[in-house]
């Protein structure tokens, strides 16, 4: 209880002003969120290359990139939990949901990409990769963090 009071006091003191205190309270998961975005975007690019060339090397790149993105997403989720529970930050629901949606689409996408030969990518896999790319653009449009330090008086 005491801790919470202190937190609120701290927050109240820096609300409305950009003080160094806020930098200390940056979300921990923020440094990890770009990794799945980079992997999934890479998979979209290699999917396009496969679509154009039908060279299986690109399809193999895609499926490994998606797997790497999903593994990175597990770490993002863990870090996000630490931010929510440990640092008692407030989730940015809209952007976080979009990000989660992109990860769920990628789970489907990794199964599609595990099919054999052409239909592992064209058309379903390529479409999913493109969709994930667009959703991630929207999800990260306001920044890499999906939580924010709680502010008294903010919406709840």
């Amino acid at each position: 209880m005491q801790q919470i009071t202190m937190t609120e006091t701290t927050l109240r003191s820096d609300a409305g002003s950009r003080s160094p205190v806020k930098a200390d309270r940056r979300a921990f998961h923020e440094m990890l969120t770009p990794f799945p975005v980079a992997y999934f975007t890479g998979a979209f690019v290699t999917d396009l290359a496969y679509w154009q060339s039908a060279n299986v090397m690109w399809e193999r790149f895609s499926v490994w990139l998606i797997v790497a993105g999903l593994i990175a997403a597990i770490f993002v989720a863990l870090a996000g939990l630490i931010d929510l529970v440990g640092s008692k930050q407030k989730p940015a629901w809209l952007h976080a949901s979009a990000y989660v949606f992109a990860v769920l689409l990628s789970v489907i996408n990794v199964f599609v990409h595990s099919r054999d030969a052409y239909t592992a990518v064209v058309p379903t896999g390529l479409t999913l990769s493109g969709l994930v790319f667009v959703v991630l653009l929207a999800a990260t449009s306001a920044g890499w963090a999906f939580t924010s330090p709680h502010r008294v008086g903010a919406d709840k």
Binding site: V100, I108, F111, R115, D116, A117, Y118, T119, V122
Partner: protein, 454 residues
């Protein structure tokens, strides 16, 4: 107050996540349809359903269990017994003219990992007991006192490279390793060969070597060898370049080692045999996976010189496979429909045309087929030896189950039949690469001691 509010919200979002995951799981599981009655796809005109593409490929393998004192089941009029046990993944069989039985103990080379899927496939194969160490040898069995049970057991040839096919022509014994045909000098009565052998020709082997078995058959005039070369993938997922001169039957000149493609478009041709009435080449072939529990039926077919049988572009004539791009309409247009479908995913790996007289008359002139059994179909299919009656050099009726009981009541595999051979007495021999046994099927009217007739 604040912490309570937070945790309530967190619980709500966790619940939401759980529901989402469950929904996703449901969607995946929902794609796993059960296969229909395999009898609808046996014979000259199999029922071919529309193809489906999976999100999660169905994997249904039979867990291996021991035979114990049990044996496979045979219909009335036949008897079965273990000829010999304790082998290491016996894969094919060859009977020498003096009655000695060669047991080829072999397993494939370690496949490379190109995709995450290959890791999963490796686990599945290990679970199915298919990951036994490659013995790379041929064991000789000899019955010296005529009781039908071999007393002599020697290592005939060792340090081979995933061998499968064997063919004896005069004093030349050919062994088809996965990457080459090697010739050894053989004298009647030898129980072991120490000669290092001479390479006749290279065969398509590693580094992928997806279908690694190389069945071998000598031409009746002894001038040629026919070799089955399986495809290097399920359906070109390793690129069409990896399929160079694969999914084909080669004709190799015995004198020079030169080869030509005798027939192509056969995904994994095995069990090469001469049909006794017409003298035509016949084979069994395993068709493609992952487009449905009832697609594509594996088959038994005559093999025409220069014939193209569809793989990878199409199946059963002009049924296109959308997974293959770019397509080849020129080849599809001339794709031959195989003679006799065996139903889907049975994995036929052994064929024996029955020319003996030991077994009841109904079996004479027909074909025994060893069905290794499915790994991607529910319910399981195969796991038995069937008989296809022939008349006038063509299949003439529905297939009959001959040797069953490889699966127990819980669908666990006590064994899986692979290569077949007819021994000198006319009994059917079956290599069982999970039970590590060679089974012998003979006519029931004879007692063991009477089996000395020849």
């Amino acid at each position: 107050m604040m912490p309570i509010f937070k945790s309530a919200r967190l619980a709500k979002s966790t619940r939401l996540a759980t529901i989402l995951v469950a929904l996703a799981g449901l969607g995946l599981a929902g794609c796993d349809d059960n296969g229909g009655d395999p009898r609808k796809e046996i014979g000259a005109n199999p029922m071919l359903p529309a193809l489906q593409q999976y999100l999660l490929p169905p994997i249904h393998i039979a867990k291996p269990v021991a035979w114990g004192d049990d044996t496979p089941k045979v219909p009335q009029g036949l008897q079965v017994r273990a000829l010999a046990t304790g082998f290491q993944h016996p894969r094919s069989l060859y009977v020498l003219p003096n009655g000695d039985v060669l047991v080829i103990e072999s397993n494939g080379p370690k496949p490379p990992i190109f995709r995450p899927k290959d890791i999963i496939t490796g686990w599945v194969q290990w679970f199915a007991g298919a990951k036994a160490k490659d013995a790379n040898r041929i064991t000789l069995l000899r019955d010296t006192n005529g009781d039908g049970i071999p007393e002599v057991r020697t290592v005939f040839l060792d340090h081979l490279n995933s061998p499968f096919g064997v063919a004896l022509v005069g004093n030349d014994l050919y062994v088809a390793n996965t990457d080459a045909i090697v010739r050894y000098p053989y004298q009647d009565g030898e129980t072991t060969i120490t000669d290092p052998g001479t390479k006749l020709t290279d065969l398509p082997g590693g580094p992928i070597d997806h279908h690694w078995t190389k069945p071998l058959l000598a031409s009746p005039d002894a001038s040629k060898l026919y070799v089955g070369i399986g495809s290097n993938s399920n359906i070109t997922e390793n690129g069409i370049g990896a399929e160079y001169e694969r999914a084909a039957i080669w004709e190799v000149d015995r004198a020079t080692g030169a080869h030509r493609i005798y027939a192509s478009g056969l995904r994994n041709p095995t069990g090469l045999q001469w049909e006794p009435v017409t003298g035509k080449l016949w084979a069994v072939a395993s068709e493609r996976d992952e487009i449905g529990p009832d697609l594509v039926p594996d088959y038994l077919t005559s093999v025409r010189d220069g014939g193209f049988y569809g793989w990878p572009y199409s199946y059963y004539g002009e049924h296109l496979d959308p997974r293959v791009q770019p397509q080849r309409p020129d080849l599809v247009a001339k794709a031959i429909v195989p003679d006799y479908a065996l139903s889907s995913h049975v994995a036929p790996l052994g064929l024996a045309m029955y020319t003996g007289i030991e077994l009841p008359e109904s079996y004479r002139g027909g074909a025994f087929v060893g069905e290794h059994g499915s790994w991607d179909r529910t319910p399981l299919n195969g796991y038995k030896v069937i008989f296809v009656p022939f008349s006038g050099g063509k299949p003439s009726g529905p297939a009959q189950d001959v040797v069953t009981g490889f699966l127990d009541a819980n669908d666990h595999a006590r064994g899986r039949p692979v290569g077949l051979a007819i021994d000198r007495s006319g009994a059917l021999l079956i290599a069982d690469d999970v039970g590590d046994t060679v089974w012998q099927v003979f006519a029931a009217h004879q007692t063991t001691s009477e089996k000395t007739a020849d």
